[in-house]
């Protein structure tokens, strides 16, 4: 595999092979972050492709001292926020309300055990649904910090770099995200009153 410096040099030259390598290396990270942020697979693919097109279009804005991965996450986060803003300002046609009801429930493809144990499958599906609903209660910024830490395993400092935030803010967003999720996911008995 090409090392990151070579990849960056290739991208700066406008080398299509380097661009493809970038896409193949990072497509899943970019797509999954977009999917979690925008909530449906079609928009997620659209946003993720926008991200790569933007990278291709404006690679000369990349600072060589930055990390390519962090830069990509930042572009992805910004693209998702733009997408969510556009979606919020676009009124949906009436029939879409009925359609959205169907689109909101999008269960994960089941694993082998779930396929043979319908009760387990139902239980997992219910938990997944609760988690997805809980994630809708956090703000986009809190959600992005949580996703980058929880799913992408980025260190807090890397998240701060990717999102252009201080580490203190990242900690605060992460705490608030997990706390909101806790309120949605845990039974009332485990709630803590500590304001």
């Amino acid at each position: 595999m090409t090392d990151e410096h070579e990849l960056i040099a290739g991208l700066a030259r406008g080398d299509r092979a380097a661009f493809r390598e970038l896409v193949e290396t990072h497509k899943k990270k970019v797509y999954f972050l977009a999917l979690d942020m925008v909530g449906n697979p079609v928009d997620a693919e659209d946003v993720s492709q926008e991200v790569f097109l933007k990278v291709f279009r404006s690679f000369d804005t990349f600072h060589r001292e930055a990390r390519l991965g962090s830069w990509l996450y930042r572009i992805t986060y910004n693209a998702c926020i733009d997408h969510l803003r556009k979606r919020a300002s676009t009124p949906e046609p009436m029939e879409d309300e009925a359609l959205e009801a169907g689109f909101r429930s999008h269960p994960q493809v089941s694993g082998p055990r779930e396929a043979t144990d319908p009760a387990l499958a139902a239980e997992h599906a219910q938990l997944r649904e609760r988690i997805e609903r809980a994630l809708e209660t956090v703000s986009p910024q809190e959600k992005a910090v949580f996703l980058l830490r929880h799913h992408e395993d980025l260190a807090l400092g890397d998240i701060a770099e990717a999102m252009g935030l201080s580490i203190g803010s990242v900690k605060s967003y992460l705490f608030r995200a997990v706390r909101k999720l806790r309120k949605e996911l845990l039974p009332a008995g485990m709630e803590v009153s500590h304001e």
């Binding site: 797509y31 097109l53 279009r57 404006s58 009925a98 689109f103 996911l185």
Partner: protein, 271 residues
């Protein structure tokens, strides 16, 4: 900052294993003497454990294999992006036009609007036969080209619906599983999955968003059908049925059948 506030600041780090030894020592000492923070920490840890069970919705190998091709098609479709010398222009993509440019653009726009109004008012009525004949075979000027992807999508939905109906109406208590003709269902599903990528790429107009999403939903379900391991894999069949129901697939297909798509409506509106 009081100790509880300091503790809360460190809980997030502690949850994901990042505190320094000093921070960890402070946290542990505080949790021993503060039941409220200890309880909060316990609840947050439990939350994290629950969240660990979250899996992301992987669209499957076909999606990933075709990702670059779809991106490349989009790249080619945007001529300003294809050759990289564009990078210089990309620095200031919205350079304001000079005043004469704006005047020229306004005049051109007026001319185009005039032509469109004239063509709309003077156009002879379109043949009514269009409704009675299969849409793809009807050469109605100005309609079929613009809505070709929409027509393809409807055909796609119709074929998918037939497969799904066979599966959804299957009753294990009333008939034997071979009544499903599973090999045929799987083959047809595979064919539809193969068509989905190009169809989604063609349905790129904003007005086609819902159709595109429905194709994607169907693709997920059809992949499941195509991958059913055996004809009598009843649990898996049930999962597919549940997916169809939860996503409201039939409702969505019926809505697309109830009227022309927004795009087609736009195309037909001058009539």
């Amino acid at each position: 900052m009081n100790e509880c506030a300091k503790c809360r600041d460190q809980i997030a780090e502690a949850l994901y294993g990042e505190p320094t030894p000093e921070e960890r020592a402070f946290l542990e000492a505080h949790l021993r003497v503060c039941p409220a923070c200890a309880s909060e920490y316990e609840a947050m840890t439990e939350t994290r454990r629950i969240l660990d069970s979250r899996e992301r919705k992987d669209p499957g190998p076909d999606f990933w294999e075709g990702y670059w091709d779809r991106l490349e098609r989009r790249l080619e479709a945007e001529p300003a992006l294809a050759p990289l010398p564009v990078r210089k222009r990309a620095r200031r993509p919205f350079t304001p036009l000079p005043a004469w440019g704006l005047q020229f653009a306004a005049a051109a726009a007026l001319l185009v609007v005039g032509i469109l109004i004239g063509r709309t008012l003077l156009r002879p009525p379109a043949p009514r036969i269009a409704q009675a004949t299969p849409p793809a075979a009807v050469p109605v000027p100005g309609v079929e080209q613009a809505s070709a992807p929409v027509l393809r999508a409807r055909d796609y939905f119709e074929r998918s619906k037939l497969i799904l109906l066979g599966l959804v109406n299957y009753d294990p208590g009333a008939s034997d599983v071979y009544g499903l003709n599973m090999p045929r269902q799987k083959r047809l599903s595979r064919e539809l999955v193969n068509e989905a990528g190009s169809l989604k790429s063609d349905l790129k107009a904003p007005a086609d968003k819902r159709l595109r999403e429905l194709v994607a939903d169907l693709e997920t379900i059809l992949v499941q059908i195509a991958n059913l391991e055996s004809a009598n894999d009843l649990a898996a069949v049930e999962m597919v049925k549940k997916g169809v129901e939860e996503k409201g697939i039939f409702l969505k297909i019926n809505l697309t059948e109830m009227g022309p798509s927004p795009k087609a409506r736009t195309d037909k509106s001058p009539m």
